[in-house]
């Protein structure tokens, strides 16, 4: 049977199943095939908080959504076109997101009485009328897979497990994906157990053939490759990009990396990634807690390393005091906060942007710290380099604010040419820099560079520059302990001026205002870039006039930020918090910025934002 082929500009697929069903792997593989094919992609893995909640329960559902298109995509999409659910729990928890008419692929084998009861289905939704508004493809994925694998000398459990490859095969057929990367991947993954490799490949092929033969699918879809800049691409998650950015910054600055970290979701993968790169001289220290993590990083920074600490909200709380010390010591330090939903333990695997004010103000005393935020998974690479640039140039701790959504989400990344990476020239002090009244030369650890206000970085091992630094207030210049009231006032203002002065080194805030006459500016920061961009485009497509700007630097703001926000009669700031950036903008520039906030642990949907924008436009 030849199937009809339909063209699509973009498709959104969501795989959902039990934590044990391998949905993340399935999603990853489909992503790879799709990348290989040349579509633009954006992905969003959505883990449960539990390691492995009891099989078949709602909390155990693990999902992976991706959007791919023949054009530039910035989000994994709002609502899926195709929802794959491997069990009743997945169906129950995800079905509300599938629009009427959407394709629903269901593993019917799992819809047993017991499994249905577990999640509170009184009747089998595959048999009652409740799914009538969808295109339901009820397929016994498990038994088809097991059947396909008869003859393989593997356990029944292993055979059943391969059902995700069957599903992947089916979807790969449906969207006509290239399958080589997956086959190669399976060979690699099961290199030690060739029988399993063969079985999984067979399951995959069986899924593909099932698509070919079953009458259930009459249409295949084609999504043309996107037009993308030429070059070498790979798919990359935010956490990997961030880790690579740090390594690249280490190479560019010729500083050796020292990571002091304590595991915490969703930041741990950066520790895992960096611990693999010993060849780059990266030292990773899994500390006893977050305080020791940042402390060790600061100690390493004192010794001339690029000190880094990675964590999430609860860890930032704990690091506050040491970050304050870093402010006083004026040493470079990178604090990566992969934000998650708070307060307290909150929802550890879900995303939120609610640590902005913590990063700004979460230390006693006046202790300003620059803040940089990436806007997409791949952008974590550049943002990390930028954070290192600021930290090393200005000798200051820097916050890098990512979030759970960027951390685990992925997108294609045009692998940069190393020659084009920013140069980060860091020089350690080697010379005495001051004279005593009697003319003898001496070393002043707090003598500032007149332009950057940075102090010299004189590391142990440098003869003649022996000096002591500490958290007690220091005399301007000499760095000796000083309780002089005016000196304290001077130093407090100098530290602030140094951070404020960074604005001179950062590019102006760019505004995307194609018609040039929008009167609403939508301003964002961080991971909302994708959905805001999509929403703005949608509104513009309908003729709405709206400008968009996105802040990479939250402290200090780019020098023109005041001009930008004052230029528009209305400013809308969507945030996944209760309006933290809005507060800063209002206080600083006295503009009546409006907040659109949602604190659901989920990224914004483009539709909710476009709705919000439309509402402002029409008001």
């Amino acid at each position: 049977m030849t199937k009809q082929v339909q063209q699509r500009e973009r498709v959104i697929i969501r795989f959902a199943g039990d934590s044990g069903d391998g949905m993340q792997l399935t999603g990853d593989r489909f992503t790879s095939e799709t990348a290989e094919f040349g579509n633009d992609i954006s992905t969003w893995p959505d883990f449960p908080a539990e390691i492995r909640a009891p099989a078949g329960t709602l909390p155990g559902v693990s999902a992976f959504q991706l959007q791919f298109a023949d054009h530039d995509v910035t989000t994994p999409g709002d609502a899926p076109d195709v929802l794959v659910t491997m069990n009743p729990a997945a169906l129950k928890s995800q079905i509300a997101d599938l629009p009427a008419g959407g394709d629903l692929i269901v593993n019917s084998d799992e819809f047993t009485k017991r499994n249905l009861a577990k999640v509170g289905y009184a009747t089998n939704p595959l048999e009652d009328d409740s799914l009538s508004s969808y295109q339901v493809h009820s397929i016994p994925l498990t038994s088809l897979t097991v059947k396909a694998l008869e003859g393989y000398s593997i356990t029944r459990k292993d055979a059943e497990r391969a059902k995700n490859m069957f599903a992947l095969g089916l979807l790969s057929w449906l969207y006509n994906r290239p399958i080589e990367t997956t086959l190669a991947f399976l060979e690699r993954k099961f290199a030690k157990t060739p029988e399993l490799a063969r079985a999984n490949i067979t399951a995959f092929n069986a899924g593909w053939s099932f698509g070919e033969t079953t009458e259930d699918f009459t249409v295949r879809y084609e999504v043309k490759p996107a037009v993308m800049p030429r070059g070498l691409y790979r798919n990359i998650t935010g956490n990997t990009a961030l880790a690579y950015g740090l390594i690249a910054a280490g190479v560019q600055s010729k500083l050796s990396l020292f990571l002091g970290s304590y595991p915490i979701t969703p930041a741990s993968d950066i520790l895992h990634e960096l611990s693999k790169h010993k060849r780059f001289g990266v030292r990773t220290f899994q500390a006893e807690d977050e305080i020791a993590g940042v402390g060790a990083a600061l100690g390493a920074a004192f010794g001339g390393a690029l000190g880094i600490t990675t964590t999430s909200g609860p860890g930032v709380d704990l690091k506050s005091e040491a970050i304050g010390l870093a402010v006083a010591l004026e040493l470079p330090l990178i604090i990566c906060d992969i934000q998650r939903a708070g307060p307290s333990t909150g929802m550890p695997t879900k995303a939120e942007q609610s640590d902005l004010l913590l990063a700004m103000f979460g230390r006693h005393g006046e202790a300003p710290v620059p803040i940089v935020a990436p806007q997409s998974p791949a952008d974590c690479f550049d943002a990390a380099i930028e954070a290192v640039r600021i930290a090393t140039t200005y000798r200051t701790p820097v916050f890098l604010l990512s979030d759970a959504y960027l951390a685990n989400g992925s997108e294609p990344w045009l692998v940069p040419d190393v020659a084009t990476l920013p140069e980060l020239n860091v020089e350690f002090a080697t010379e005495l820099n001051h004279h005593k009244p009697d003319g003898t030369p001496e070393f002043w650890p707090y003598l500032r560079d007149p332009e950057t206000l940075a102090r010299p970085w004189a590391i142990p091992g440098t003869p003649g520059l022996e000096h002591r630094i500490g958290g007690i207030e220091k005399a301007d210049g000499s760095g000796n302990i000083s309780y002089d009231p005016s000196n304290h006032d001077t130093m407090v203002r100098l530290r602030q001026a140094k951070v404020d002065g960074i604005a001179a080194s950062i590019p102006p805030l760019e505004v995307d205002d194609p018609t040039g006459d929008a009167d609403l500016l939508v301003l964002g920061w961080g991971s909302t870039y994708g959905p805001i961009g999509a929403a703005v485009r949608d509104v513009r497509d309908e003729g709405g006039k709206v400008a968009q700007a996105h802040l990479r630097h939250l402290n200090p703001f780019p020098a023109n930020t005041g001009d930008v926000v004052s230029r528009y009669s209305r400013v809308l700031i969507p945030e996944m918090n209760l309006g933290q950036l809005a507060m800063l903008i209002r206080a600083r520039f006295l503009v009546d910025a409006m907040s659109y906030t949602s604190v659901r642990g989920l990224p914004f949907k483009a539709v909710e934002l476009s709705e919000a924008i439309r509402e402002v436009l029409s008001s």
Partner: protein
Amino acid sequence: MSIPLQGGRKGLDLVPVTDEQATKKDYTSDQEVRWCPGCGDYAILAAVQSFLPDLGLRRENIVCISGIGCAARFPYYLNTYGMHSIHGRAPAIATGLATSRPDLSVWVIGGDGDFMSIGGNHLIHALRRNVNLKLLLFNNRIYGLTKGQYSPTSEVGKITKSTPVGSIDTPFNPVSLALGAEATFVARTIDSDRKHLTSVLRAAAEHRGAAFVEILQNCDIFNDGAFDVLKNPETRDTAVVRLEHGKAITFGANGEKGVRLTGRGGLEVVDTSKVKSETLLVHDVSHTEPALAFMLSRLGNVDDGVTPIGVFRAVDQPAYDDQVNAQIEQAQAAAGTGDLAALLASGDTWTIN
């Protein structure tokens, strides 16, 4: 006193040396010392300033890191690199420094509040990891800088500002705690005994890995005389046991007391005149297992107990930082130093032309 050295100056192996003979003055910073007159910290400072030059190291390769407290003012007075950090965190900060800079001799200073109270966790983890740090606990059994609250080493019943009718919690025995935390080098000494103090510090310096030294230190203002019984010429001989590696454990003005094992798994103090000298316990810092050292550490915990000073334990075990660096070297030896372009282009890639 014999100094236990595992393989000579192993602890200082990677620190550059100099032929120029430095003096105490070279190690004295230009900052005015600001402890109370009579504070035991002065004696410790003088001892350190005098003994460091003898190590023959390049001064710029010595770093002193402290937390907060009177004791923690120490780095300001030592003309080396130094950091006066925050309360309790010095062992963690120093861990980062030592791990990334094998060419430094890193000293960590803290009081009993700094090391045993707020910083207790960092201390025990630094010990268990065996990071190449010399950790000097200035134990005055009181919070000096905050003007006299009891500390985790204060004796039960102590009346202080925060315990007006007496403290009720059992203090830590820092030596026992360190041994329980797998420390490879544990010692105790006294601020006023310059010779002993210096010999212990030297042994610590030469130990590779974490060396923990409890220094009993008098706080003139808030806990004066806490260690008088160990210092007073009339009492000290019977109150202090000087542990010396390879020697039978005896004490008393003329060695009239000794320590030996009981048959019940404990130690007892005996009159050396009444027992055969072979039955006395011969001190050995190099026991693989810390149990016997632990037993010695408890000698002071009983009524009329005696306080052993000296090195309790000094065993040779891989240092954390050395192993971190070895893993890096191995990785580089096996596959070369990292190639950034290759890293960025790793994994599944595709090309768009």
